[in-house]
């Protein structure tokens, strides 16, 4: 009998009989049998999942399982619960003007946090995740606003967009001075020099002085004689440090030639009014939001003193 047992000489223990590389053998140290039974029990337990949980596809669906559990239902339930939790805030926000929401710390916090999520889903593709913008897409962190930076103006812009085709959209546009041959290329060059000189950029002084008169004739109507712009018609302030399309001579010339005319979709049909209020409050809170304009009738007794950006 012993002749068939493979015995390891050093330990005197039996080996498994397997040999590797000619002389490597393995001692047979059996695991306890309860271990094996535990393993079998786990296999049986695993079959239980087939029975109690959805498991097998069928021709017209799948086996539902005894527990009737469904991850879709779970998600729907969680979403409904989350919505119910938000409803209290959303109802309150829906009922009051946007400036009032800002005065209520709890609603303001809810609106900003929710607005950040809405912004990320809808606005970030153009304006950037941090609302930092890009060439042609305004930076919403700064204090320069094409169409007004107070809460109501921002809400209006988001609802109706810019040049979006919405009936109430901001639809004024700058003429295409170059493409439509309103100005000669040399004139455009001169006026570009003049406009850049307003921001204290390095310019050709002679060209700039020639451009002054051209500006007065062609541009001042919208941008103002002082070139400080007009948010009613989306005419940018040309004297500040912020340039949507860049402040190089080439970029400014290109803006005058083509009129640019960027557009933004109207979100009124895509987002509900409460969501628009929330995202408005978020954008307004990014640091550049402007105070509400003073109401004429004096009916607004208590004005929320704004955190105005330093001049």
């Amino acid at each position: 009998m012993a002749s068939h047992k493979r015995i390891d000489e050093v330990t005197g223990a039996e080996t498994t009989g397997h040999v590797w590389d000619g002389d490597l053998t393995e001692l047979n140290k059996p695991l306890p049998r309860w271990w094996l039974y535990t393993f079998y029990a786990c296999i049986v337990w695993a079959f239980g999942y087939w029975i109690v949980y959805p498991a097998w596809p069928t021709f017209n669906g799948y086996t539902k399982g005894w527990f009737g559990y469904s991850q879709r239902d779970q998600v729907a339930k969680d979403a409904a619960a989350a919505k119910a939790a938000q409803d209290k805030y959303r109802t309150a926000i829906a009922a009051m003007p946007i400036a009032e929401v800002k005065k209520n710390p709890e609603l303001f916090e809810f609106a900003r946090d929710g607005g950040a999520a809405i912004f990320g889903d809808n606005c970030a593709p153009c304006h950037g995740r941090g609302a930092q913008g890009a060439v042609g897409y305004p930076n919403l962190n700064d204090d320069d606003w094409l169409w007004g930076g107070d809460l109501e103006s921002i809400e209006t812009t988001i609802t109706h967009g810019a040049r979006s085709g919405d009936p109430k959209t901001h639809d004024t546009a700058m003429p295409r001075f170059g493409l439509d041959k309103i100005l000669e290329p040399a004139q455009i060059n001169d006026v570009a020099n003049y406009v850049r000189s307003l921001s204290h950029l390095d310019v050709d002084a002679a060209a700039a002085s020639r451009g002054s008169a051209i500006f007065a004739d062609n541009c001042a109507a919208c941008h103002g004689a002082d070139a400080k712009g007009n948010t009613e018609i989306g005419a940018p302030n040309l004297t500040d440090a912020i340039w949507l399309y860049g402040n190089s001579q080439q970029a400014v010339v290109h803006s005058i030639e083509t009129g640019r005319g960027g557009m933004m979709p109207a979100w009124g049909g895509r987002l509900d009014p409460v969501s628009i209020k929330m995202v408005t409050l978020y954008v307004h809170s990014l640091g550049g939001g402007k105070p509400e304009p003073k109401k004429e009738e004096g009916e607004s007794e208590h004005k929320d003193e704004p955190h105005e950006a330093p001049k």
Partner: protein, 496 residues
């Protein structure tokens, strides 16, 4: 051959193999073995008494600790040790540890591990032999078993006998007692996580949370299974420590060993027979029969030996009876065995590079934790500058950076804070939620508040900036204590 083989099947197979026509003589025996039940005999002696004492102390700590009260004022629970998961904090006497300070718990775990290393390096598997819950509860379960079914031989007889009424009631009584111990164990465990007196009332009246009952159930079951049924199997097959300790032990670590030099050649000894030319071991197997893991200590150091020292007691008892000196089995070191020293514990070298290193690490980690614990504030302040965008150019050509300050009020009273920033001359503060440059920020007890603010400079100050990053200091001032906490951060710009 099937997996279900077991030792008996294995023998049968081997008999088949004996036939001349055996196909495969190299066929392995079963890879699974039936559990060999161990019937540890009761030991008497010094180490048994020490073990009882340690068992009593550790069990007392386990059961009594959650009931000790500690007055923390009206707003906090008065349980001295409470793992308050619901409020994400750990209460230990006067110390309150929040979730974000979990590194203290990590530190305690690191210290425990180092202490285990040190004890192992100095004295071997002391933890396994005396203090491990598995050892303590197994000891308790075996004592209960012995109480109902008698000592080793009686239990073996009972197991071999057919199912009589006596066997039935003895076994039932044993399992019932185990189950009661298990319930008490699981029950005590949940008290560490909720106010013990309240939870006790709830558990009894059936109004405790399902979570409490679930954990009570889990710990009841594991105590019953691991302490009552699995016992030494946990040490031999489940626990990683026997494998790790090989790296902790060295030639100077204490461990329990049979003194081969003195004991061999072994053999039974008759009264009046001379001890000349033979060893002291009378091969009575007393050491084997008391062993809770069922090994023979005379085979030398082995993984399954939990160093419980019961074999020392058993052997000493026999040595006394046969009139030989005690200590045939004793705590010793490899170094002593190598020199064939007969004196137990002669030259036990405790101070060694290894133990010095472990002690130094324990002192370093412990000192660091103590220092940080003594110096920790009841307010946590962190400042994070906006990353996207890093800075904003303003219409007047100035620059603006945004920051989020998180202030945690760890006290149980409402606090007010003021925030200031220094480092960029002429910078103006502007808060999203507050008016003015220096608002008062109220934070409720035990609350964290994130405050967003902006720091702006004009075009003139912008020219003064050097490089694209200027170090600044944001200071949060506790208005009640005047204590200021400053955090360094940066004011970013496009550079020149």
């Amino acid at each position: 051959m099937t997996l279900m083989g077991g030792p008996n099947k294995f023998i049968a197979d081997k008999k088949d193999d004996d036939a001349p026509a055996a196909k495969n003589t190299a066929a392995p025996s079963s890879i699974y073995a039936a559990h060999q039940k161990i019937y540890p005999k009761e030991a008497h002696g010094t180490f048994r008494n020490v073990k009882w004492a340690v068992t009593a102390v550790t069990l007392a700590i386990y059961y009594i600790l959650p009931w000790i009260r500690w007055n923390r004022g009206p707003s906090l629970p008065d349980q001295a040790l409470l793992f308050d998961f619901a409020n994400q904090r750990l209460l230990i006497g006067p110390i309150e540890i929040w979730a974000q300070e979990f590194y203290y718990v990590t530190g305690v775990l690191v210290l425990s591990a180092l202490a285990l290393f040190l004890v192992t390096a100095v004295a071997g598997r002391m933890w396994c032999g005396y203090a491990c819950p598995q050892t303590v509860w197994t000891d308790l379960m075996i004592a209960v078993e012995r109480f109902w079914q008698g000592d080793r031989n009686a239990r073996m007889r009972l197991d071999q006998s057919s199912w009589t009424f006596e066997k039935l009631w003895k076994k039932s009584a044993t399992h019932l007692s185990w189950m009661m111990i298990a319930i008490a164990t699981g029950g005590a465990f949940v008290f560490y996580f909720q106010d013990a007196p309240t939870l006790a009332r709830e558990l009894i009246s059936g109004t405790a949370s399902p979570v409490a009952y679930t954990f009570l159930g889990i710990f009841t079951l594991t105590t019953y299974l691991l302490g009552g049924m699995a016992r030494e199997q946990v040490c031999i097959y489940m626990c990683p420590w026997p494998r790790i300790q090989g790296a902790m032990l060295d030639h100077d670590s204490l461990f329990i060993s049979y003194r081969e030099a003195r004991g061999e050649p072994r053999g039974s000894h008759k009264r009046e027979q001379s001890w000349e030319g033979r060893g002291d071991c009378v091969d009575c197997k007393a050491c084997v029969s008391v062993c809770p893991t069922g090994i023979d200590i005379r085979d030398g150091a082995q993984l399954a030996c939990i160093q419980c020292a019961l074999c020392i007691d058993a052997c000493d008892e026999i040595m006394d009876r046969v009139g030989r000196p005690r200590g045939l089995i004793a705590y010793t070191t490899m170094a002593n065995l190598d020199t064939a020293s007969v004196e137990p514990r002669s030259g036990w070298r405790i101070v060694r590079p290894r133990t010095i290193l472990y002690s130094a690490l324990i002192a370093a980690v412990g000192g660091l934790m103590l220092w940080s614990l003594l110096n920790r504030a009841d307010t946590i302040v962190s400042v994070a500058p906006d990353r996207n965008p890093l800075f904003v150019t303003l219409s007047n050509g100035g620059l603006r950076n945004g920051y989020t300050v998180k202030i945690t009020n760890k006290t149980e009273t409402a606090k007010s804070f003021r925030i200031s920033a220094t480092g960029v001359p002429g910078a103006k503060l502007q808060f999203v939620e507050f008016e003015g440059q220096d608002p008062v920020i109220d934070i409720k007890p035990s609350e964290v508040r994130a405050v967003k603010f902006f720091l702006s400079i004009g075009p003139g100050e912008r020219k003064e900036l050097k490089g694209d990053s200027t170090p600044i200091l944001v200071t949060v001032r506790d208005m009640s204590t005047g204590r200021e906490t400053s955090r360094a951060t940066t004011f970013s710009g496009p550079g020149s």
